[in-house]
Amino acid sequence: MEEIRMLLVDDEDDFRTTLANRLKLRKIDIMDAGSGNEAIELIRQKPFDVAVIDVKMPGIDGIETLKQIKQIKPAIEIIMLTGHASIESGMEAMKLGAYDYVMKPCDIDELLVKTGEAYQHKLLKEKEK
């Protein structure tokens, strides 16, 4: 069975690797990046369906990463993760084309459902062309 190709971007190593491992167990083909720059590099090199990006990161932050990824590969669907519910940052993310904006702590099953939806959305867009 094909797996959804996901890029997980978070600067916190523990959180990122734990989540990545758990997603791997649930049949997500996952790669992870510890910074926005690293993520953008990976995006240039490899194909992904969905990227999950933490909003708050040192260096180039999640919103900037979202913006750049959308420029490089607009087809990738992006789910933003945030520890702080904020209308303003939610608006910004959605305006920049994020598929969803999810508040932490986010249940892994919920994240999987959103990932599935985002993936479906990507397929739809591809189909349209």
């Binding site: 069975m1 520890g83 519910a85 508040m103 702590p105 892994i108 599935g116 739809l124 189909k127």
Partner: protein, 869 residues
């Protein structure tokens, strides 16, 4: 993951096998599938937002305690989902509604401003003297200190002098050390089961906080407040420092003993102790409790109360009620020599006094234990154990008069706060009493109190039933009122005993007016039970036979604690229900919720035919949802110029039912290789569609069947009738039934006049994925008739276990995560309703007729639906 990829691929695949079909048809099918899936997402997002709004409205008018984080989280979720709705609509409609995002962006900043204003309102003071604190300031000083301020300033009882290091101080501290991001990263996705990592993380974070520098202005503020305190108090140079967390009171949760309190702290150690208490937010039990109970880490903010250290001769804790058995009308006091802390942690032998609640002068029980040691303030710092003289050891730590005085204080506090209280107190050497803490007593914590042998009274009334489980202890008496439907809810008389078959969460809304709850089914861990405890309403669940034995209006006495129901009123042991008062109303947080709701909840766009039914006419979030919903239907099923894909994809169902039904197969819903414009029922392989069809056709519809044969875009059945109903308003839509199907899936869209309904069902391989749902949009016709019809549908669906919600002119009902056989029977009910409620507007001239039709429909349904499933 759930074969999701495969599922979607399948849903979207090119049917290469059907080479005989024209490529254009396939392209159309793809376009339609795309638009249809966007429509589905729009509908479910629409419902999600309506639920969020309802949640906010119910919270606003209810008595549940909530904080800013609740409002912020809901508003953010609404904002994000609104973007999704608009983007779905634009994908369906080829970007026709470009101005909608701008309309949304005109509203959202207004909501955001309300939230930000509030944040400043919480106050910027880093410390606050106890004199200036009352119960409304929980966001600033934490619930514990807000209550203590209330005790001092509103109730007028003696409490130690002191001040609070506020939530603003905590925020300042965390910001100064740039700690929160690091902590968030460590704490998120921790699992309570992973004990090792839990300990490691807890240790790491606590060290991080303890080692972090205190902002100089905060340090100054704390030390200055301390100096002021010493000047004012004039005695004692040490303080006790107690955690007073914010956000811990948001649910039925005690958080008891999770955070640190430090006694007898000198000036030198103030800052260190302050940091220790802040760090205790991340103690292992605190972190795992939050994880287990679903509390958000960032919602807990630690305020710290600093009060002059009391030189307690005797101290302890009292409950203004027996948490284990509320039937015992008593006040429970535990007392020790010295500091009362040893009562709290149960570390030493203690005296027990049980006083009558009716008359605290009456001592029901007294146990004096042999006390060997007492906890006292250390000479320099902290506390120490001191030996007790032999003479003192066998003596009661408090006198009879003192016990009575405490009892009276307990009653006074319970009355003021409107709920039983858990109170910490101390007697000073001069005999004066101080209240150190008063907080709501968690009667759900049924610790054995060891006083079960008190029996103030006996009941000699006829027993109606015994058994069941005590979901919320207590006893109450009142007329029974059996609740089966939402209409029953509306008629529920205040002061009645709620009797129901199932403890559905929605009945919880009645707990403000019900004196007790009895159900046939259900258990202690259910939502209703939790809310009953939170509301302190006695609840006896799972009695099996309550609805069988109890009739409306019967006067009953419910002894939830003793698991029995008696006929009549047993005056002798009825709990004096503490008056329920909402402490939230009027608080800044409550007002903020009210303010943001003004931009969210009102519905101004009801009539799709009105001239202001435009993007510009949308003034609230609800307006935008309404508009987007209506337009998505219009775009998908109301084709105007691009009468393309549906015409080619849909096949007319050839069937002996007086209406036109069109079927669109997304794949696997019909026999392979079908061609032509029509399809027979025997060609359908979609399981949910066949079941739905069974419901639609089980009882022949006897109304006037104006079969329309003019073609696809002509007005089908019913519009004429509705126009007659609503003279002067013309239907803007043709009436159509579309069935969008696949093997496991069926979606029916029907429009009759102004009413639009969808039925959707998915029967998958996994129970967790199964659902059926029903949306009914009443349109803009006649408010009263519309309400009656919606009410009628709700009444019926609730009888079949549906979760039903009405928001504005939309009814939505759902059943999910159930076995397929269970869902099948209920899907038939939906089929019947779609078919047989259409003509009812005409006849629902008064509410009595509603009941008549409910009975009629239930009778019809019972002929083909097996409810035992």
């Amino acid at each position: 993951m759930f074969g999701l990829k495969r599922f979607f691929k399948k849903l979207l695949k090119d049917d290469t096998k059907k080479v005989e079909q024209k490529v254009t048809v396939e392209a159309l099918r793809n376009t339609f599938t795309n638009r249809y899936l966007n429509f589905k997402t729009l509908l479910s997002t629409n419902n999600k937002v309506l639920e969020l709004i309802t949640d906010m409205e119910e919270t606003f008018s209810g008595s549940r305690t909530f904080g800013m984080s609740f409002i912020r989280a809901n508003c953010t979720a609404i904002s994000v989902n609104m973007y999704k709705i608009i983007s779905c609509l634009n994908e369906i409609a080829d970007n026709k509604y470009k101005e909608l995002p701008l309309i949304l962006e005109g509203i959202l900043p207004k909501i955001d401003r309300e939230l930000q204003q509030k944040k400043l309102e919480t106050g910027s003071e880093l410390v606050l003297p106890l004199e200036s604190i009352d119960k409304t300031m929980a966001d600033h000083v934490g619930a514990k200190m807000a209550n203590l301020g209330e005790v001092k300033n509103a109730v007028g009882l003696s409490v130690p002098e002191g001040f609070v290091i506020t939530s603003a101080a905590h925020e300042r501290f965390m910001k100064y050390g740039n700690l929160q991001d690091e902590i968030n990263r460590r704490i998120q996705f921790l699992e309570p089961a992973d004990i090792a990592r839990l300990h490691e993380t807890s240790f790491y974070i606590q060290n991080l906080i303890a080692a972090a520098p205190c902002p100089p202005e905060l340090e100054d503020a704390i030390l200055n407040a301390y100096n002021d305190l010493m000047e004012k108090a004039g005695h004692g140079f040490h303080v006790s420092m107690r955690s007073s967390a914010l956000g811990e009171d948001t649910r039925d949760a005690s958080f008891a003993g999770q955070y640190r309190s430090v006694l007898n702290v000198s000036r030198e150690n103030l800052i260190l102790s302050y940091k220790e208490i802040l760090a205790s937010k991340y103690s292992v039990p605190a972190v795992s409790y939050r994880l287990n109970k679903g509390f958000r880490d960032e919602d807990i903010i630690m305020c710290v109360g600093c009060m002059t250290m009391v030189d307690a001769k005797a101290g302890g804790v009292m409950y203004s009620a027996d948490p284990g058995n509320i039937r015992h009308e008593c006040i429970i006091i535990n007392a020790v020599w010295g500091l009362g802390k040893s009562v709290v942690d149960g570390s030493m032998a203690q005296d027990l006094f049980v006083l009558s609640k009716k008359n605290p002068k009456i001592i029901l029980k007294k146990e004096i234990s042999a006390k060997k040691q007492q906890l006292v303030s250390g000479a320099l710092e902290g506390t120490r154990l001191a030996n007790i003289t032999e003479e003192q050891a066998s003596k009661s730590a408090i006198t009879y008069e003192q016990a009575v005085l405490l009892g009276e204080l307990a009653l006074c506090l319970e009355k003021h706060f409107g709920a039983p209280q858990d109170i910490e107190w101390a007697f000073e050497p001069d005999g004066s009493v101080l209240i150190l803490q008063s907080r709501p007593l968690m009667v759900s914590d049924k610790k054995p109190t060891g006083i079960n042998d008190i029996s103030e009274s006996k009941v000699d009334l006829p027993v109606i039933l015994t058994g069941g489980v005590t979901a919320s202890p207590g006893a109450a008496s009142g007329p029974a009122f059996v609740v089966e439907t939402t209409v029953d809810m509306l008629q529920f008389p205040p002061g009645a005993v709620l009797v129901a078959r199932n403890p559905l969460p929605k009945w919880a809304a009645l707990l403000n007016s019900a004196v007790a709850v009895i159900t046939d089914k259900g258990g202690v861990t259910g939502h209703m039970a939790a809310v009953a405890r939170e509301f302190k309403v006695p609840a006896l669940l799972g009695t099996s036979t309550a609805t069988e034995h109890i009739r409306n209006g019967d006067l009953v006495t419910v002894d939830a604690t003793g698991c029995a129901v008696y006929a009549g009123k047993a005056e002798s042991f009825l709990e004096k229900e503490a008056e329920k008062t909402s402490l939230m109303k009027g608080s800044p947080v409550h007002n903020t919720l009210g303010n943001v709701l003004k931009y969210i909840a009102p519905l101004n766009l009801a009539d799709p035919d009105a001239s202001d039914f435009t993007p510009e006419g949308c003034r609230t979030i609800h307006d935008i949802i309404r508009f987007a919903h209506e337009m998505s239907l219009h775009e998908l099923f109301g084709f105007k110029k691009d009468a393309s894909s549906l015409e080619h994809l849909a096949r007319r169902l050839v069937i002996n039912v007086p209406m036109q039904w069109w079927v669109v197969d997304l794949g696997g819903g019909c026999r392979e290789g079908m061609q032509g414009d029509t399809i027979g029922l025997e060609d359908i392989t979609s399981v949910p569609m066949l079941i739905l069809w069974e419901g639609i056709t089980a009882v022949p519809w006897k109304g006037p069947p104006p079969i329309d044969t003019k073609g696809f875009f002509s007005v089908m059945y019913g519009a004429t009738m509705d126009r007659n109903l609503v003279p002067g308003i013309r239907s803007r839509y043709a009436d159509r039934n579309y069935l969008v199907i696949s093997e496991n899936f069926c979606h029916l869209s029907s429009r009759f006049g102004f009413h639009f309904s969808t039925v959707e069902a998915f029967f998958g391989e996994k129970v967790a994925e199964n659902y059926i749902c029903f949306n009914f949009n009443g349109g803009a016709a006649d408010d009263v008739r519309r309400a009656r019809r919606t009410e009628l549908i709700k009444l019926i669906l609730e009888k079949f276990d549906f979760w039903v919600q009405i928001k504005g002119d939309t009814l939505f009902a759902r059943l999910e995560r159930q076995e397929v056989p269970f869902l099948k029977e209920r899907l038939k009910v939906l089929g019947h309703l779609v078919m047989h409620t259409r003509q009812l507007d005409m006849v629902l001239s008064n509410s009595e007729r509603v009941n008549k039709y409910v009975e009629k429909i239930l009778k019809e349904v019972s002929s083909f639906v097996d409810v035992s499933q």
